[in-house]
Amino acid sequence: MYVYADNAATTALSPKALEAMLPYLQGEYGNASSLHSVGQRAAEALQKARDTVAEVIHADPKEIYFTGGGSEADNQAILSGAMAGARKGKKHLISTAFEHHAVLHTLKKLESQGFEVTLLDVHKNGVVSAEEVAAAIRPDTALVTIMFVNNEIGTIQPIGEIAKVCREKGVLFHTDAVQAVGHLPVDVQALGVDMLSMAAHKFHGPKGVGALYVRRGVPVVNVIEGGQQERGKRGGTENIAGIVGMAAALKEAVTDLEGHMAYVTGLREKLITGLTQIPHSCLNGDREKRVPGTVNLCFEGIEGEGLLLWLDAKGVAASSGSACTSGSLDPSHVLLALGLPHEIAHGSLRLSVDAWNTEEEVDHILQVVPEVVKYLRDMSPVWDELERGEATHLI
């Protein structure tokens, strides 16, 4: 049995999305900007996809901008918010320490261009509070950008409350909802957000396609200059097949969303219950405030890459925030932001399941992970020191 438990990294393309895409990869090759009927059929497909995405998140179709993925949507949202602020002399940005690099690196770039960035603490449980956001807002704050669901640990942020605080203080609010859309109810009107990013490949759509929701009235800055596509805000001939696939996958993901959430939460709870029985392990991130499918644990005395390679050999695809996995000397910035010591963060494991996973697959994970952890501990000098009492357990 080979279990794919890395759905937070990317997901398999849904057969329904593929079926919806195929015509636009084969006969329907039109350019949506062309006046002839071939092009107009493409334009129609594009419009239908926009309507679908808008309907799912409760937006107006004119508020949806298709992009080349989640990163581009994040870049565009942050640049738009920053530029809107800068025009009024506001050059302060607020975010958190555990955002995706698409957000953090964009903020870093803006910092080098004279913006000031405040990164809020995410605490031990990986959740920021609206009060802390309120306290960080200054008269010169242009934008607050805080992720909906953290990609590594799965914690959910109080997006509605944060949006309310921002609106009261007249500050734009963007949320990177790449890990939320298709997995949790997301209603931009009820939430009151100004901008929201999503990516198709996190909910069984194709890679390289995403969308940015921008509330009407918020000025949008281009990341890609070009023609009049996306109302002039994103140049380039549209990826019709990808966009159509995104809409089809999203529609499928939110059909019986509640049922899916209950089912996936069940799988996750089974994983947490089973794996936290491993001695000297800990669950990372808040126990309750988490997306249905993501679990992140640390196992003391072992290193994450070795764990991943063994799990792969034994039929489990997962991921880790260890330094050796990332190719840098530091473990994941997300785990460090939680205040985990390096030694512990190196032994992290992220399992992300979704509605495509089965009970049997979870049972396989529950059988394999403890075996591999034990094997690696038996050959670990760190574990040896802990066992002999020469070092003290941190977890």
Partner: protein, 148 residues
């Protein structure tokens, strides 16, 4: 393209000489848990020959494979020869390592040297301290080649 060569995967999944040694003549431990790789190497020495070697390693696939390969390369060899083992030789014997993983083979070389030094110290063997370089950069993780 796979991250690792077949040889690396073989030594990772079937590590040679893995385990602890109760009656070692020398033990060397290098690296630290903050960096993410630690190797401990045990050697048995008879008449200047390394007759047995064992290792335990906390670290990535590359660290475990490098430890395993290094033990094979020094087992049955005179100490003088073991001291000449370079991280480059270990990496080559593994059919290469990704550039950002070369530091893991550096640790293997250092673990061997640390074990020999421990043997010398414990058995009152005189040596020129210069052959072991300076203590402060014994684990060399931060200045590892291939790390930008």
């Amino acid at each position: 393209m796979a991250l690792y060569s077949d040889k690396v995967m073989d030594h990772f999944q079937n590590p040679r000489n893995v385990g602890k040694m109760e009656d070692a003549d020398g033990i060397g431990e290098v690296g630290n848990a903050v960096c993410g790789d630690i190797m401990r190497m045990y050697i048995k020495v008879r008449d200047g020959i390394i007759t047995d070697v064992k290792f335990i390693t906390f670290g990535c696939g590359s660290a475990i494979a490098s430890s395993s390969m290094a033990t094979e390369m020094i087992k049955g060899k005179p100490i003088a020869e073991a001291l000449e083992l370079s991280n480059k030789a270990v990496a080559e014997a593994l059919d290469g390592l990704p550039a950002h993983k070369l530091h893991c083979s550096v640790l293997a070389e250092e673990a061997v040297r640390a074990a020999v030094k421990d043997y010398y110290d414990k058995h009152g063997v005189a040596y020129d301290p210069a052959i072991f370089g300076c203590d402060s950069c014994a684990h060399g993780h931060d200045q590892a080649p291939g790390e930008a």
